[in-house]
């Protein structure tokens, strides 16, 4: 309700931000503030210092390159959701950001803040996994890159170290068939289940499939059995059905999330249904269904 007192510093550059958090034992970065501020107001987080990275120019904006797009960490969801190139070259990322929260949230929340926070019910982790993106991280020792598959470690836990920050996400222009199917929690709007799909087509055949799921496990998770079910064959009602059946098969049911709205058992049921919906939407977008 009322956050505890904290110090505030506005960083002018990435290195200033790193210096500020390195020099303080209990500092948090603030980007869009849409995850951090609610936890501070509810008393779940009481950082002694906030380092505001909102004004760092190099973290803002979307750059299109040959073969990939770079999305700066401070880029707002709304800008990603309105980017025509991403809709063409990596639709799973564009569609997912369009389905985050509501317009006000999309106008404030940031791509970097989202994945660095790694809320298990957030939408972007699944899309970043499906898109086979690379996350750029800066720290006291310079810059490094991490594949999405290695980025998410657990609930609110990522590969980003204490003194590091996410500077951007690199999304390859591959697999132009993609979609996100989301079952929002009717209360919070977060994903009860969200399934992000990227298909690389070779004619009618699915050459490669990447499927990432949100809201089911303690972090964004690839659904490899579902990918296997559709790869190497034409996308069809049968293969999609098989993918739905296989969607949760590699997940440990005891680790599946539970809440007021959905038990673990029912979440897995939804996971199957939403995997099918995401594949159908991707197939329609690719013109193969």
């Amino acid at each position: 309700m009322y956050p505890a007192q904290f110090d505030y510093e506005k960083a002018g550059s990435v290195s200033e931000a790193i210096d500020a958090i390195s020099g303080h034992s209990d500092a948090e970065l603030i980007a869009g503030g849409h995850s951090l501020l609610p936890t501070m107001k509810s008393g779940l987080a009481e950082p002694e210092m906030l380092v505001d990275i909102g004004d760092i120019d190099e973290l803002h904006g979307i750059e299109h390159h040959d073969g990939h797009t770079h999305i700066g960490a401070m880029t707002r969801y709304a800008d990603v959701a309105e980017d025509n190139t991403l809709w063409e070259e990596a639709p799973v990322v564009a569609e997912t950001t369009e389905m985050i929260g509501d317009r006000q949230v999309r106008n404030r929340g940031t791509v970097g803040g989202n994945i660095a926070h790694a809320d298990p019910a957030s939408d972007l982790p699944g899309a970043v996994l499906a898109a086979d993106a690379t996350v750029h991280i800066a720290g006291p020792d310079g810059e490094r890159s991490v594949e999405a598959d290695d980025f998410f470690h657990g609930m609110y836990a990522t590969d980003v170290g204490e003194d590091e920050l996410v500077t951007g996400v690199q999304v390859p222009h591959e697999g132009t068939a993609g979609a996100y199917a989301k079952k929002p929690n009717p209360a919070s709007g977060y994903a009860l289940v969200g399934v992000a799909v990227r298909l690389t087509m070779d004619g009618d055949t699915v050459a490669d499939a990447r499927i990432g799921a949100n809201g089911v496990m303690d972090h964004g998770t690839r659904l490899e059995p579902a990918e296997d079910a559709v790869e190497g064959q034409a996308l069809s009602g049968d293969s999609i059905g098989a993918a739905g059946d296989a969607a949760g098969s590699s997940l440990d049911e005891y680790m599946v999330m539970e809440d007021q709205q959905a038990s673990a058992e029912f979440r897995l049921q939804l996971l199957g249904a939403y995997t099918e919906r995401a594949l159908e939407a991707a197939g329609e977008r690719a013109g193969v269904l």
């Binding site: 309700m1 929690n185 209360a187 709205q261 049921q269």
Partner: protein
Amino acid sequence: MATEETDHEDGVQSIDPDDVDTEDILGSAIERREDPALVSGEAEYTDDIQKPEMTHMAMVRSQYAHAEIEEVDTSAAEEMDGVVAVYTADDLDVPGNLPVGWLLDSLEQVNHPILAGDRVRYQGDAVAIVVAEERYQAHDAADAVDVEYERLDAVAHPGEALDDDAPVIHEEAGSNQAFDWEIGDQEATKQAFEEAETTVSLDLHNQLLIPNAIEPRATVADYHPRTDELELDMTSQNPHVHRLLMSGVIDHPEHKLSIRAPEVGGGFGSKIHHYADEALTALAAKDLERPVKWTATRTETYITDAQGRGHETTGEMALDEDGNITGLRVHTKANMGAYLSTFAPSIPTYLYATLLSGQYEIPTIYCTVEGAFTNVPPVDAYRGAGRPEASYVVERLVRQAAREVDMDPAEFRRQNFVPGDAFPYETPVAMAYDSGDYQKTLDRAKEMLNYEEFRERQEQAREDGRYLGVGLSAYIEACGIAPSELVGELGAQAGLWESSVVRFQPSGTVTVYVGTSGHGQGHDTTYAQIVADKLGVDYDDIEVEEGDTDEIPQGMGTYGSRSAAVGGGAIVESAEKVIEKGRKIAAHQLEADPEDVEFENGEYQVAGAPDRSVTIQDVAGASYLAHDIPDDMEPGLEATSFFDPENFVFPFGMHAAIVEVDPDTGEIEFEEYVAVDDVGNQINPKIVEGQIHGGIAQGIGQALYESAEYDDNAQLTTGSMQDYAVPKSSHIPEIKTASTVTESPHNPLGVKGVGEAGTIAAPQAVVNAVVDALEPFDVDHIDMPLTNERVWRAINENGGEH
């Protein structure tokens, strides 16, 4: 009484009041005059009020639902920056017991202290208060008050609370039974069931709901020691009722206490009741001789606003061989929460069981209700208050009975309706319905749904593995509860009349003072429409004042859909008195006999002599000038009325939903929602439509999304909007509305009330539709809220389609 039909399937269009002639203003869908201030942020709510030297109050609330208080250590809090005072129960030397305003014969009246001294009985029960210079300081210091508790077993559900081995919440009561109440004829009903060809039975849970008014409760108290005047601004649906009750609670004389409701952001019933919080704010202001403001946080509203519903019911219906209903038997265990809130005992009794006849001719009904103390916040009126619970029981049983006797549910209803020529109709549960035509709303709803065609589509869809269903809800509500003598016989500790003053100013403008207290309903607009019509005075020349004990003589407030029926009636009576006085002045000036002076469209005219006329506004001027008025007459042109209607009014209608259920996910999609309502004459069809829309949204919220859930320790697990699903606009389907108009004979406007209709009608329309869709899976019932998981489980429990 004739029933007229109007159609607005595409929505009612708003009209600029400047485009409407005064003689047409009553019944026009003019824009709400209060909206520009409300939507621009100019309107003043309680929390907007700032006073010099004002302090801020925060509450120390129990985190446990049931515990003994061992020790309260306020020393750390007292030392903190900005803290002005900390009070515990020991520090307050006042009567401090919140009263119950409705008594039943068997009612256990338990103590309801404004601060818990030795025991807390729900999570949120206040243990201490902190007053500080700044709001943040008050909350920080409240966190620093150290309370030692000895935890006790807790119970959240009425059925469990009434078990012999349940923890007893009020030891002075001996058990958790708050009351044991009955209505109807037990013997005759028993006989009806013995003689029945068929009976059906359902166990129904009507879940607890959190009111979620957009503005949290708040109070600003200001005490003037030299005059002993205590002024409160607060979020109140009934300032005069609050003043009367509070004068006793804090022992402050009523004439030295004034209560004003500034703009109030919704209530849904939750701002009727007298809570501890406003009394504590008042006491702190009095003790400190400084203004004190308290504004609930959203979290506090979740754990302290009186909640609604909370019934566990077994309902049974008896039927003869032709599908006629021959009897109804209902047993309900009602959750009263930890204490008895202001009007709580009336909600699951007289406002509930008296509506169990629904729209049907049922020869005999018997209902018993046990009220149960539990460790949840007090449960009291919430939009509909007892009537949604009744309508839910009746309409779920009717759906089940129709299935049992293999009749279409629409035709089953038609066969059992109270016939149009039977009004006034006496039910076996003490009600006399004023007027109605239930066939007509059913016919209209069926037409709008394309009902017969839908049944064919439904059959085809099932063959394709798609599950569509239609749900009907033939609802009735009783509102504008009256007359006072009757409600007194039923146990109310108050009369339920309404008062008004209609006052001309000398220049011919008019101010109307009325004892209702709007909090979003649009009274400034609708009351001005009534007065413009009655007095023939331009709408813009009329001002409406509500919600201030200093300005308005007396009042009972706004709840129970009473404002138009009872408040509107009071306004009409005052307007008529003003017209009569004006007639004598006009006659005097026109040198005619008053009996020969006619009043029409704001003008007095000598019958048969159109050139001999004077406007009522000129008469008003003359009345204050008083140079030339009848000798035996007092100057001035105003009148006061107390209107006590002869009976309730009974709005009714038919709501219907068509849904599709996805058996894979339990997801429910609306295809149609139609609402055919008869709320009597409509003062403003746009406002009526808004009330219907909002009510339906709230009803769909209950049907599909909302539920206050408690764990085994009676801790609320849906304590914020992150977990408690208040429906969003995307959750609500397009709503097609239509109305029939059957005037009520019980008030001069012929209105019936509309504030709660949608909330009462919608839940069972939705649940019946889902149950209808799932007929192939042999699903008889699913408890609300119909979450996707509950629906999916209901489908799969019976092993899939049969």
